[in-house]
């Protein structure tokens, strides 16, 4: 990273293993060209607008509405994914039932299924004449082409994060602690809420933050089901695409920087949660 070698503390500790210069050099070159330079260009482009310029873009009614939809719906979706993801993780780790391994493999489907494929599948399922959409319409819920549709797509995309961050911790729970709690007279509910749940909270929060960040940035699985009505069901990433097609590079960059800023805050929050968890429980 170009740190100068300090006279006493060396940049790297001695080792007999060769290839440090070659591999680190190659790594830094790739990282700089593929990741850092393009991201820096974005920041420079957006800073050309100045803080007030970015603020103007962010407070433009259509942009503000898109940001509100993206962040608000993603928050709700991440919450839903965390609650049901927690149940799924618990069931998959603690109970034995026919098809458990298959269900476990299915959880990763949103990681593997291309977002455009998920998008058109969800859109056709939840359309007013679709398999699920028709049932929902009967009870008065319009899913496709409303924020409800965005919510469904974001739950889909966020679920694996919620499940996979909690699952390994549930597997590591020491059953003897639960037995001790029971021997000391606690009911099962008390054991669950006072003994089992607290150590899981950091992982649940991490999964929530990951699902939230993914939902905010998600594009492919949402645009088909969202209907993309300005001020109603238009998401921030779509607005970037629209601005780009109008050759408004500065406007697109401003929205992108706002979204990047918020994902960095989310990442920071994850790191803080994990640091806190390490102090409090001794593991991440």
């Amino acid at each position: 990273m170009g740190e100068p070698e300090k006279p006493r503390r060396r940049f790297r500790q001695r080792s007999v293993i060769p290839g440090f210069g070659l591999t680190l050099g190659y790594t830094l070159t790739c990282l700089s060209l593929i990741v850092l330079l393009p991201l820096a260009t974005l920041v420079v482009k957006a800073s050309g607008l100045g803080l007030s310029g970015i603020w103007d873009v962010a407070t433009d009614p259509r942009v503000a509405s898109a940001l509100r939809v993206s962040f608000g719906v993603s928050l709700l979706a991440a919450l839903t994914a965390s609650v049901f993801g927690g149940i799924v993780a618990w069931v998959l780790t603690r109970y034995d039932f026919p098809g458990r391994k298959l269900a476990d493999a299915v959880v990763d489907l949103p990681f593997a299924l291309p977002t455009a494929v998920a998008g058109i599948a969800l859109a056709s399922l939840y359309a007013p004449n679709g398999l699920v959409g028709a049932q929902l319409a009967r009870i008065g819920i319009e899913a496709a082409y409303t924020p409800v549709g965005i919510f469904i797509a974001m739950v889909f995309i966020g679920l694996p994060f919620a499940v996979r961050t909690v699952q390994p911790l549930i597997a590591e729970i020491d059953k003897e602690v639960e037995e001790a709690s029971a021997i000391l007279g606690a009911s099962r509910i008390t054991t669950l809420t006072r003994v089992v749940l607290p150590p899981l909270i950091p992982a649940v929060l991490t999964g929530f933050a990951l699902a939230f960040a993914r939902g905010v940035g998600e594009y492919g699985s949402i645009i088909f089901i969202a209907g993309n009505l300005p001020y109603v069901s238009e998401i921030a990433p779509l607005l970037i695409v629209i601005k780009l097609s109008e050759f408004d590079y500065a406007g697109a960059s401003a929205i992108a920087v706002i979204m990047l800023g918020i994902s960095f805050v989310t990442l920071l929050a994850i790191n803080l949660i994990q640091a806190w968890s390490r102090r409090r429980f001794g593991y991440v």
């Binding site: 293993i17 591999t23 299924l113 390994p168 998600e218 590079y249």
Partner: protein, 299 residues
């Protein structure tokens, strides 16, 4: 039905534990209720969309299904997707191995920062991942004037699609291998070197066999993402039919033209790829859990 569940909670056959089983697990009703909730949720949100893809693709029979692939644009899209993955995946494979060698086998200042930066593309929205390349290589971008002058087209052409794909799949191999290689340490390589092996020889005969399952696992996931990426590629592609359309973009075009059978037929190809990926991934996890991830923990 599993036997343990068929029996009442009080008939647990654990001899060493005198407590009724209900104190270390939930009551049977609760267990079945939770299992039902979890499976319904997974079925409704994950399995049903997957089944929809195949059902819609075959809605008008096999003839219409297969016709979708005989179209020249579809074949061009398949070809382009294969080309892009054939460049992006090996690139990230080499990068990932080099990065994890540097990070896992040596101690140096700024290592944590480096690892965080490698992970960065995962936290960038796909659309933003495309946008940044437009800002660098687009006609009004950083290198725009130079590229126009030399008649080199990157954005709205194949190189841009490849670059955007490399960006979104950048961390896959590195983030899988770094913890794995850190856990394995350096003792085996040091032994090989002491016995006179060259660095390259030690890597090939000692390190590579140790990381092969983790490597395969990460390449599998990297490939699935590379072939399926939509947002980033959509921004840089320009959607020129037959030229810069990958499979996911072709799905979008067909869907927006209300050609649903063809859209879902092409989508079923990608869904099939996802299923194969998941199957191989699960088998690798069941068989080689310890050789894939550090501490056998996934993700």
């Amino acid at each position: 039905m599993s036997e343990a569940l068929a029996q009442g909670p009080d008939t647990a056959r654990d001899e060493t534990l005198r407590l009724p089983a209900s104190v270390v697990t939930e009551r049977r009703v609760v267990r079945w209720l939770l299992i039902a909730v979890a499976l319904t949720f997974l079925g409704l949100f994950l399995v049903l969309p997957l089944l929809t893809v195949f059902a819609q693709a075959l809605a008008k029979g096999w003839g219409a299904y297969l016709a979708a692939f005989s179209e020249p644009d579809a074949q061009a899209a398949i070809r382009l997707t294969l080309i892009v993955a054939a460049i992006a995946v090996p690139f990230n494979l080499v990068f990932g191995v080099a990065a994890s060698w540097a990070v896992a086998k040596f101690e140096f200042t700024g290592k944590n920062l480096l690892v965080t930066l490698i992970d960065l593309p995962f936290s960038v929205s796909p659309v933003v991942s495309g946008l940044i390349y437009v800002l660098v290589f687009g006609s009004r971008g950083l290198f725009g004037p130079f590229l126009v002058e030399h008649d080199i087209q990157i954005i709205f052409a194949v190189p841009g699609i490849v670059l955007a794909t490399i960006f979104v799949t950048f961390p896959f191999v590195a983030r899988q291998l770094i913890p794995l290689m850190q856990e394995q340490g350096t003792a085996e390589e040091e032994a090989a070197l002491t016995l006179g092996a060259s660095g390259w020889h030690a890597f090939r005969t000692v390190t590579l066999p140790n990381i092969r399952w983790g490597l395969l696992y990460s390449v599998l996931l990297c490939n699935a993402r590379a072939m399926g990426e939509f947002g980033a590629v959509s921004v840089v592609s320009g959607h020129i039919r037959g030229l810069t359309n990958t499979l996911p973009l072709h799905v979008e075009i067909l869907y927006n033209e209300y050609n649903f059978v063809a859209a879902f037929a092409v989508a079923s190809l990608l869904a099939g790829l996802a299923l194969v990926t998941l199957a191989v991934k699960s088998v690798l996890e069941w068989r080689y859990a310890d050789d894939i991830a550090a501490g056998a923990r996934r993700h």
